[in-house]
Symmetry: C2
């Protein structure tokens, strides 16, 4: 199964935008992400709908953070991208009335719900400013030294 890379990509680009401070076009952001401007609009559009960034069309337009890095958590970004659960219990629906299938599913559900709760708590307590600090401690934060 292909991994859904949207969360990581958005964290990456939002931190860059916070460090750079100005407005960025979909074209430049696409280069940061090694991808296409349309993919950027598609994904950043979801963040705009949740008040994390704002966009302006026309000459001189582009994308800008609507809050500072310390006011955005990983959880904010995650929830803007995916309204559903992060970790989905891999339950089966072959015989919904079979007590054994229901018991198996119930055990899996319980374990996954607990793991997801822990994950969400971690997401909620991690701000993008924290990520920026780690990046700055390791190297130059705003350049792609590739």
């Amino acid at each position: 199964m292909r991994t859904d890379g949207r969360l990581a990509r958005m964290l990456h680009v939002l931190v860059h935008m916070g460090l750079l401070g100005g407005r960025e076009t979909s074209e430049r952001i696409a280069q940061m992400l090694n991808t296409n401007p349309v993919v950027v609009r598609r994904t950043l559009g979801a963040l705009r709908d949740h008040g994390i960034v704002e966009s302006e069309g026309g000459r001189g337009g582009g994308w800008k953070l609507k809050r500072s890095l310390d006011q955005i958590t990983v959880l904010d970004v995650q929830q803007a991208l995916n309204e559903g659960a992060i970790i989905t219990a891999p339950i089966s629906r072959d015989h919904p009335n079979c007590p054994v299938e229901r018991a198996s599913n119930a055990v899996l559900e319980e374990a996954h719900v607990a793991a997801e709760a822990q994950l969400l708590a971690k997401y909620a307590s991690t701000t993008l400013a924290h990520i920026a600090d780690i990046a700055l401690a390791e190297g130059i934060g705003s350049a792609h030294t590739q």
Copy 2:
């Protein structure tokens, strides 16, 4: 993304096999799972390679548990089916040398590794006998009342 239903399906069928006690053919197991005998062989084959079940060909053959239900944990089944991680951190690989991307990935990795550790602990402490108990408490455990 389609959910990987193999773990839930295997828990389901292993508990049935434990409760029934005898040998089951791929054909009958496929009916329990609403699927095809080939899919059953494919998946149970992995469990055989890990010593959870055994198979015999020819007339009177089929599949049988190699250990009792209280000697098989959910973790055993999970690891037989998938050698990799259960929860994969959705990291990005767009600019591997970019400190910001690395910092984002590191934060995600750390959170997911912690969540997976909790999940594995839960899997390890849950036996198939436990699932069977839940099923028996709710209804008849060996019949498909559909």
